[in-house]
Point group: C2
């Protein structure tokens, strides 16, 4: 990293959008590709994705899911087979019309999502009840041409994600799958990224095009905007009928199958940056940090440098042996202060400083990134304590984010209070009659939509926040990106 | 799997091409996508790729490489920046011309390979000698429209691969990287896939478009055709100059960097199928088999079924605990014989049969897939022996493949003998003068090209097999797919 690029020049509070972009670029997570709306991931950014992927993949495999591969090209004729679904993606589709100098007859879409492609295959693979359930996940990218301003990880024309596509013999089993996946997502996001979420259903207006219903996990960002963190869809038989995904049941009766699809994307990285970052840059939860602890050797004479560096490497080995991802920054030409700034910018959760005076006292100085607090740790406690400290940091980061989410989630039953709360950047829990017309009026008035109908939020005893008629449920309103 | 699809209907010897396709489809590794020339991977096929990826990824990370992500779209203007390179890929490029209903100004290519995209970014990231070496690998797909007949894993218009792209301060360091990668590839292929390879350089005619030289690992398939298994290119400064990848060295002098690129693809799966498979189907080396051992409980009465199934699950747990990927086939409605055939077709290296008579004698019957030999194993030796047996299978499969490669590699110094040997499906080692004109004449006459100039094959004392003039090296001729 060259000197001039170091340091975030705006505060998170004053210019959130510029702050975000600077963190992404200067912490070297991502960079812009030559095509507008596309980004590349640099090694630190991709390492975070690898962490998320590995944690989620393990949970999916334990629950009987397996991975597959689908090509990026889908014929137009196939994509259009489920009409609502196609209409939803049509304006965003990239079209391949030529290979070499030849024109292609049936234009090819770059996959905006793979329901249509996967299910045209599933109709061949599923013949009998013995072939069910079929639970396949695909780690790939989706391509959706973004017209609005793009933002790394949050809105890009190609994004890394996983898309799961399952087939079941019964409605009940499929609906159970939808919830099991949402629970796996929630656990991953809360435990690994230290971001609290609210789970529930989407309203009909906000559901996935082609789904019977969509379940979602939502969170709120520091600028008061809502972020959808992942969705799990119950597709019913909406795709199995047009795509002929059917099977002979145990009584030899031909039956259309029940399906689900679900996905999370690298948007989770964007959420992590926004929720935890500060004016010094990125702050990474230890579980997903590419480097969990950086060791900075401090010396001002050649005599000191020897024993300090020797100890630094010794501590590195100790930590490697207990599975900590650790790095010694032994660059000679840079000052300790410069290094502190750089590793703070890059979000490393724990800094370990080792200087000659520390060695005289048989201790090191540790600095926690999330609070920027410094403390001493005796050398002989490094092996036993660092793992615990990293877990504490993880827990404290989650607790702090949970506190902020709770503070920013307010209950209102009065319409003008709802408007004021939205204006101040809150999630607002309010009663709703269930009618799309009220939902749309509220959207027109406030730019907020129903982010989620939390599980267990039935509440028939209050009037709808808009029309005052009997409400069917409580819902959470928020403004999205 | 439905009954009618079980079983390969041609022999490997009589109709190799049809045999191969049947194994791919019936062992459920892959299937055809709706677009001609594209395939999808089913879970067993993808699990093999995951195994290869994980083994290679570990070796790359240990040698200081990190992963990144590049988008699939490359602007035409950028792709054309290195002229030879572009000319090489031009006829194979898929072009995106529209997003939604809008036409795109600068057409977008679907990545045939990422040198141009990566290096346009590297020119921003590399400023100083401190930024070097830069060693990034990308696990993605490449897209090259295939005009010739396609074949799963061997020739498809989109394929899974990895592409590594490194930048170095000196020529020497870059050339060392080229060889280090080739060695990592060789180790992966020989140790994991049990396929022996010959490593060396490509001739100028056969090198990667844009490289100074290409190193390669080659093998020969049972039908006598050569297969390129992976390549590692020394790019010199051929890309750093047009893409402006330069750095300030320790003396503050601006210098163009030295680069390498290298890749292996899912073609390795195709090679594994061809090298090890037999008339019963797939034969997988244990290291990459999704299931390494399948347990078949055998019983003909309800009384037996209880104790047999109990023991089967007990053996499964024992094996899981020592890290063996194991599956109990407890499907009730299928006969043991049917199950044997199915798991043989799918290539599972080891079958463990447990019946009531086995239990009476406190043993199981094990059947090795690669030799189809059966033997007894005392129950109390399962824990200590199965790991060893799987390693033996791995070693025996490599040794058998090595023996076949050696037998099929013949040395000739007479041109008509070379033709006869090629006709019989051999690799032919022969002296060559180093001139492209001889290489081209031989290709015209025999359809064979120079597959590899093996390392250390300098041999100036013989005449060129074609022109009889002084040879500079020995090379290996073969016919490719």
């Amino acid at each position: 990293m060259s000197k001039e690029s170091v340091g975030i020049t705006v505060s998170k509070k004053d210019d959130f959008s510029e702050w975000y972009t600077q963190v992404v670029l200067k912490a070297e997570l991502a960079d812009y590709a030559p095509v507008k709306g596309l980004i590349v991931l640099r090694p630190d950014g991709y390492a975070i994705w690898e962490s998320i992927r590995s944690s989620l993949d393990e949970k999916l495999k334990k629950t009987g899911h397996r991975n597959g591969f689908l090509p990026v090209l889908i014929p137009e004729s196939l994509l259009g087979k489920e009409k609502d679904h196609f209409a939803g993606f049509n304006p965003e589709v990239f079209w391949v019309t030529h290979s070499g100098d030849s024109e292609i007859g049936d234009r090819l879409a770059l996959r905006p999502t793979s329901e249509t492609l996967a299910y045209s295959l599933y109709s061949k693979w599923v013949k009998s009840w013995r072939d069910l359930p079929l639970k396949i996940n695909f780690w790939n990218t989706a391509l959706r041409a973004e017209i609005k301003a793009t933002k790394p990880f949050l809105r890009t024309s190609e994004f890394l994600w996983q898309e799961g596509h399952t087939v079941h013999a019964t409605k009940e089993e499929a609906e159970k799958e939808v919830l099991e996946i949402l629970e796996i997502y929630k656990k991953t996001v809360q435990d690994e990224l230290a971001i609290p979420v609210i789970t529930g259903k989407k309203s009909d207006r906000e559901k996935f095009v082609g789904a019977v219903y969509t379940t979602t996990m939502e969170s709120i960002m520091p600028d008061g905007k809502a972020l959808q963190m992942g969705t799990s869809h119950f597709l019913g038989q909406n795709f199995s009928k047009p795509f002929d995904v059917k099977f002979l049941d145990r009584n030899n009766v031909e039956t259309f199958a029940w399906q689900t699809s679900w996905g999370v994307s690298w948007r989770l990285i964007g959420a992590t940056i926004m929720v935890h970052g500060d004016d010094k840059g990125l702050v990474l939860p230890p579980r997903i940090a590419p480097v969990q602890a950086v060791i900075i050797p401090i010396y001002y004479s050649d005599r000191d440098s020897q024993r300090v560096l020797t100890k630094a490497v010794e501590v590195e080995r100790t930590l490697q042996n207990i599975g900590v991802r650790v790095h010694v920054d032994s660059r000679n030409e840079l000052t300790p202060g410069f290094k502190y700034n750089e590793w703070e910018l890059r979000g490393v959760p724990l800094r370990i400083e080792i200087g000659p005076k520390d060695l005289d006292r048989q201790k090191v100085t540790i600095a926690r990134r999330h609070t920027r607090q410094k403390s001493d740790l005796p050398l002989d406690q490094i092996e036993s304590q660092i793992g615990t400290i990293l877990q504490q940091i993880q827990d404290e980061m989650f607790a702090a984010a949970k506190k902020r989410l709770d503070e920013k989630t307010v209950k209102e039953s009065d319409y003008s209070a709802l408007k004021t709360a939205l204006e101040s950047g809150c999630f607002v829990e309010a009663p709703w009659c269930g009618r799309a017309v009220c939902e749309e009026k509220i959207k027109e008035d406030t730019m907020a939509d129903i982010r989620v109908i939390p599980f267990g939020a039935e509440n028939p005893n209050e009037g709808c926040i808009y029309c005052k008629e009997k409400s069917t449920t409580k819902v959470i309103f928020g403004r999205a990106y």
